[in-house]
Structures are given as C-alpha cells and as structure tokens.
Symmetry: C2
Subunit: 313 residues, 2 copies
C-alpha cells in the first residue's frame, strides 16, 4: 500500500470559469452533488468574486446554499478580497482559498494590482477571518510567467513564507499556464516540504504542454500528496488557445490508482460523471481516460481470433 | 549536462498507418526530408508489408528511393516477413525493424498467426539478412493486452531473450495500446537494462490514457535513452476512438529538452513541421506544444499592464 493522495476537484470553479456560455445553477449543483459521492478530499465549489468580473460564478451563494454536503469532503471557495470573504461567510465554506501571483506582471494582468497590494488585501482577510475558517493560499505562476518567463524558486518561497507567517493552513503552488517541467517540480516540492513541513502543500498543474501527469509523478516521487485537478481537463490558458487546461482529474487519479496509490476516489463512479462534461460545456474536453476507459477495461477478441485460439489449444 | 537521448520518429510509418485517406508519396518524401534536418537519431520511414494489408504504405519502395538521406540519421523500415525483407533489401535501409506481440491474443488479432509462428518467420529474416543489416525487434503489448489484460514482465523478458540470442542489435518495448503506468515502466526498464545491457533498448509509448510523458519520465529516470515518438501524437489505437495515439515527438522532446537532456533535435526546426501535420492528415492532432509553444516562448504584457508597471517603478 502506497501513501494516501488527496484530490481537490476544481472543475466547477477553475474549470467552468473559462467557459463562454453560462452553465445553469441547477447543473452546477447536480454536478457537485455527484462529485461529492466520489471520494474527493475537497471540492472547490465556486468563487466569491464580483459577478461583473466572472459572470459564470455569479450564483456563488445559491450554489453553496443548495449543494448537499457530504461528511469527509471539504467545500472550499475562492476569495479574492475582504468583500468576497464577507459574502462567503454567510454560506459557511469549510475553507477560504485566497489567490495571488508570484509574478508581478501576471498579478497585474490577472488582478490588476501589484503583488504588494494583493498581499495587503489577502492579509486583511486572514486577520479578520483566519480564526473562523481555515485558510489556503494559491500562488499563481510559480513555475514561470507567460510574460516574464522564469520565476525564481526563491521568489515563490518568499511569498509562501509571508503567508506561512500569517498562520495559513495550506499553500497551493500553481503552474497556472503549464510551464513546469518535472525536474523543476521535484526541486520545488523538496524545498517546500523542507521549509513548510507543517503546512498542507498542494500542487496545481496544467497540461498545456503535455507535461501535466509527468509533473504529478515528479511530485508524488518527492512526497507531495495533494493535488488540484479538473474533471475532463477543463480550464485552459488564454495564452494557448487549443491547448489543454488543468490536468484532468480522472486521468491523474487513474494513473495514481494504477500505480497503487490510495486516492480515495472511486473511478467507477467518477468516469460516468466525467463523460457528461462535454455535454455540460458543449465541446470536446482533453481528458483521455473518459474516452479510452481504464487500463483494466478489457475488450473481447474478434471472432476470427477466438477461432484461432481454439485451434491452437 | 544530462545524458543523450535518442529519438526515432515514427510518424510516416506508425502515425500514417492509421489514417484513412491516402497521403501522397510526394508529401511523405517532403516530410521525411524536412525531418532529416531536425537532428533525429532515426526515422522509421515506412513498412514493407503487403499493399493490400496497409494501402497507406504501398509506396514503400518509392519513398525509400526518393528521400534524401542525411548522414547521422538512420533510416529504418518495418519488416513483417521474409518477403518484405527481400523487397526492402533493394532500397538499402539502415535497419530492419521486425515486429511481433508478447500477447498471444494480440498477435493473433494483429498478425493473424500464433506467436510461435511469428517468431519462426522473424527468425528466418534474421538468419538470412542479419549479417547484412542491423536488426531491431519491436515487441508489442509489453505492458498489457487490451483483450488479455496483464502481460507478465517475465513473458516479455522471455521473448526478448529469444531475439537477443539470435544476435539482434536492439529491442523496442512497446506499450501498443497505452496501458503502461510509470511504476511498471520503471520496473521493466530496470529489468531490461540489467538483462540486456549490450542491446539498444527503446521504449515505445502511447498517450491513450494521458500517461505517455509520465512513462517517458519514468524511463529516463531508470536510465533508458531511446524512444519512439510520432509527430503530432499521430497513431491512435483502434480500441480507444477519440483518445490520443503515440506520444507526440515534439511534446516528449520539449519536456526532455526543458529538463536539460540532450535530445539532438532542434525544436525550432521541428515545431513548424509539427504544425503542418493537421493539414497533411486533415484533422486536429493531440500534440500540445505545437499549439501552446515552448515554455520559453513568452507573450507581451497587455497595454494596461505595461502602464501599471511604469507607475510602480
């Protein structure tokens, strides 16, 4: 028996956020209720950002209010600032997930303010609500910025340190635009676990350049046990139209499951749900295992082979 | 500097073989001539199978006769039997690549004869031509058979041994239908290198379940230095319609290149060629890096970000 791996399903937040056509609230609630039965450690339900900034997630309160929570699953929400945090407190999430980028240019592009200002804003949330709800901080562009290029590991560790000092429970190290390669991932995982041994360290990969599961492999080899992933591989990156998005939950879980890791997720429940995603978003999705089946799903031999086999034996 | 990795480009054989519409001989010749300029160690040009079995490769002699060979690149061809070998000798390939499956059911399905008969037929080729041309043997379904399921490692090693005893130069261990997982790959690579330390060991992966590059990673970590790959990820598997095919050459080379391995392949030459593949086959292909660009390909920041950056500094 290998170690336990914990998956955070981000499809209804990070996955849906990039979709152009509004997904009905009923569909979101139903999907989350189904996902809650699969054995995930955590589900990132939605984001308490402004409805104007992300119209797709304008139904955050309603979704959080209507889903049926299952014991053992944590329901986390993305919190952009103190206003979002105040709104979110009414629906009692199990965790706040705060976000900023380790790249100045990426933070300016995404959040339209310098990192220093983002940090002050997130610190305000932590100071006000940190004793009422566990806090995770997602750091974007930790393995490279599509505009600046390389982001030094030291830069990531410094921002991580600032939040660790504020007493957060966990850090998610995000490869927001799929720039990480396995050797860099291994180095990052080792440094993070050494320096923040008491924090929950989660890795968040995109498959933009096909390296998503190789990076998951490098992470588990380095002892990391927590991953974000998105059903169907939904998500995507504005800089790479046509390329894959987040790592596909079902593909990542399938690989680790095949390797003997305990993911807690029941793939026989998850795959039928993954197969609904193209219908929900009205387009094909990059996830492979929903198309190919698991490695244990066998096919009957053609009739001529069955006949030949009889002849031989 | 990390170790040298050797790539065998199989797009015009393994990749094209699955395509339904005939690709003109001129296109094949042009493509191989372009690929010859990229730094590949080897190119699998075509197959000397019967024109009836694989109409796509009915122009094997013409393609081999017309391509401009580049020094340092080996031009290998697939040889199904003694007839194919005799035909191929006229065009002087640098290597014969023989093929059979380690799974009885898969061999019967694919080659319509039992493994024992395949072995006798391939042995005939090796005995007749082995002193005139180097021989590689590709063993299919080494990590699982879509009909039988698990293929024991011992079974693979036994077939490998038989060919090793006949004095072949190399063995290609094929995950023909994308059933390999990294832990299994690592075990296989270690066993092969220990037992056949004098042979060229090549790994051939498919990305059917998204694990292709994770399996490449597991292989290089185990010291394997040779891979088959197909431009664009062309190839596919009849058991998984819609799923990915062979690992994409450009994605695999890009990952190893980013990790510091010496692949010999010039990605700045290869990517424009990879971007022609959808036009050549008239459909989208699974390769990611041709869409996303390399991790070193940066994007300009939007105007509002440039303005904000000026304010800060």
């Amino acid at each position: 028996m290998r170690q336990r791996i914990y998956f955070n399903e981000v499809v209804t937040r990070d996955g849906f956020q990039m979709e152009s056509v509004f997904i009905p609230t009923d569909t979101k609630v139903e999907l989350i209720n189904e996902l809650s039965q699969c054995g995930y450690a955590k589900i990132e339900v939605t984001s308490f950002t402004s409805a104007k900034a992300i119209p797709m997630l304008r139904d955050a309160e309603e979704v959080m209010g209507r889903i049926q929570r299952v014991q053992g699953v944590e329901y986390t929400v993305l919190i952009p600032n103190i206003r979002g945090a105040e709104r979110a407190m009414d629906v009692k999430p199990d965790e706040f997930n705060l976000v900023m980028s380790t790249s100045e240019t990426h933070n300016l592009s995404n959040l339209r303010m310098p990192r220093k200002k983002s940090f002050i804003s997130l610190r305000e949330v932590i100071e006000k609500f940190g004793n009422q709800v566990p806090i995770n901080v997602s750091l974007s562009a930790c393995f490279g910025c599509p505009m600046e290029g390389e982001v030094p590991q030291q830069e990531v560790l410094q921002w991580a340190e600032k939040f660790s000092d504020l007493g957060v429970r966990g850090l998610t190290i995000c490869d927001t635009t799929g720039m990480a390669q396995p050797e860099q991932v291994a180095r990052m995982c080792e440094a993070l676990q050494k320096r923040f041994s008491k924090l929950q360290i989660t890795l968040h990969f995109h498959n933009t350049r096909g390296m998503g599961l190789a990076n998951v492999l490098a992470s588990v080899q380095s002892g990391v046990a927590r991953f974000d992933a998105s059903l169907g591989g939904l998500g995507g990156c504005p800089y790479a139209p046509g390329a894959s998005g987040n790592i596909s939950s079902e593909d990542a879980i399938h690989m680790l499951d095949a390797m003997g890791y305990q993911t807690g997720v029941d793939l026989s429940r998850l795959l039928p749900i993954a197969r609904q995603i193209p219908t929900i978003v009205s387009h094909e999705v990059p996830g492979q295992v929903a198309k190919s089946g698991r490695i244990t799903d066998l096919h009957p031999a053609p009739a001529y082979v069955t006949d030949l086999l009889k002849e031989i034996s």
